[in-house]
Symmetry: D3
Subunit: 135 residues, 6 copies
């Protein structure tokens, strides 16, 4: 009886997509307006999903409040109202595309979830663009 | 050519999370404000997903109207505008957490869906908390 | 240059619609399934809107964080995970219809907002039913 | 490190569900009000999801802008503001149920996506009815 | 103590925007792809808002169920799964633009609402285009 | 017969809230985490509403496509994927709070709308914070 428990959260951040070692022309060709040198930003919406057995005593797979706390401690404190390129060490050498952000978030939360549980993270960069990582 | 057909529905209900055999202190420690003795409530949103072959004559996996009727008969009549703890026999000895509710709903609908089809149910307790069960 | 600033919040609560002095038959005829004696519940969504002049120094009509705090202190603490009929004194002698709830919320928040500002409150009882009060 | 990248799009179209070789009675019995001879219509919402390895240079699985262009060229130009039965050759001999539309859309986009990537398409016919095809 | 009570509803319909007495060229210039001779369609979402005094006995301005029934009888039966141009007499000599539809809906519902109450109707033609009429 | 026509649009941008002439301490006290020196960002959602008479020939108050073009030319080109503080001259000496942004947007669009029509603009900074300006 494995059930998936999902919790939504969000953070607001600035970012810029570019590779330091590329020329301005190449960065512009690949990343277009996402390469604006002064940054742009998003309201990122996050769905964190934990799959595991229901504890027969509590009826919980994981207490939603605990899951919300883990997301707050691992992601919101680190990313919210930040510049992902300049303020977040995870992206010092990693382009903060939605794909790379979702893998970073998954790794941060994976450390906090029991090994017997599966983890999936979905990240909305805009209401129309989103990415999912299952490990 | 297996396609998944999904239908949304909803019901409004009251519930309380607690174990009769536990002390008030332990119930409060585990279930917090969800343990309010006078109950609280939610607008539950439900997504029922049936996966099967497309019938080449009708172009349907299952008629959405039939699926809506099954949800109405099995879930809405039983749960809508009810107190899950007091009015619904399924939860007489089962804590009505989102995880337990989604399993109960899955079982009720499983009986009404052709065996060759797969079934998945997602239940939103709030817009930010939801659970999924695939059997 | 009067601008309206709006903040969303939510609370989950149980309620029952009935008049103590009416017969069961009359309560059932008027309130139907909302009259379930064991209560039912909702995820109430709230939009609180304050209209006033922009402060030229801060660029704010009201700091959204302050507005969120006022809603938390006046409404969420009082109503969230509560039974409106049994746990909230405002509804001891007032039926907790959406219309009555929105007026109670408006009065609680009105006390905390500067007199030069206008106040409007919208309350969603379900995603399809909502009410608005402007004072 | 396979990540799923999803992009939403939409198109507005008219359609009618019926089989030419069936009697009016049988069409009415099976398709009900969806069989209106003068058609009805929907705002179809589409989610196209591509799963593949992150390119370590760009941080992209697929450029969202390229994915949006593929959807525009393959689906929006062909279906938007059209009558699916009369204006779209794919449905000349295929009933435009949500199930059949999602398979047609999947095939059109599959041709444009790299073979090493997986493809899933979800189509909302209404906010409460949707279908998914994974190939 | 005037409160506004709002109820959402929806209907799915086909339509075409054109003036019979205009040339094809002029219709195409003014209405563009909305002039497709074979029609296109939408999931129309409707919000009907009634403003009036709270009845001190019931706590209602208007019973939401009665309001839902009025919308069903006046609008859904007449418009749902219909071709607005061909199946709905109101649009025999009136172009079914969102603006014209919302005025027609307002008039149909106005007849059913007590004169002491105000009425406002909002109609979403798509999630991004909507119109409002207050009489 | 004045009807309001509304169109949604969006732009993604970075910003920082602070007054150059204030000390770091005062900026931090007033603007909190919105004062991050490296900026943060949002997916801004915009609703532009034009109220006027229905043109009896076209059934339009204003062609939604024209309104979408005006929003694109006046707002999206200027603000999308930009740093509001550094890239947008309107905010060279104006703090880009939601309140100030909505007034700037209103003024840009007011110039393009016929004088006989009324204009209202709503700006969502996040799904839970939004502002409205009517002139």
């Amino acid at each position: 009886m494995r059930v998936t428990v999902s919790r939504k959260a969000h953070f607001n951040a600035a970012h810029r997509l570019y590779r330091r070692e590329w020329s301005d022309e190449r960065n512009q060709a690949v990343f277009g307006k996402c390469n604006n040198p002064n940054f742009h930003g998003h309201n990122y919406e996050l769905i964190v999903s934990v799959t595991g057995e229901i504890n027969p005593e509590t009826g919980y797979v994981i207490d939603m409040k605990d899951l919300a706390d883990i997301i707050f401690e691992e992601v919101e404190i680190a990313f919210d109202h930040k510049n992902l390129n300049l303020d977040v060490p995870d992206f010092e050498n990693l382009i903060p595309t939605a794909e790379n952000i979702v893998v970073v978030v998954w790794n941060k939360i994976r450390n906090r979830i029991d090994n017997s549980n599966d983890l999936e993270v979905t990240l909305y960069e805009t209401p129309r663009n989103f990415v999912t990582f299952k490990g």
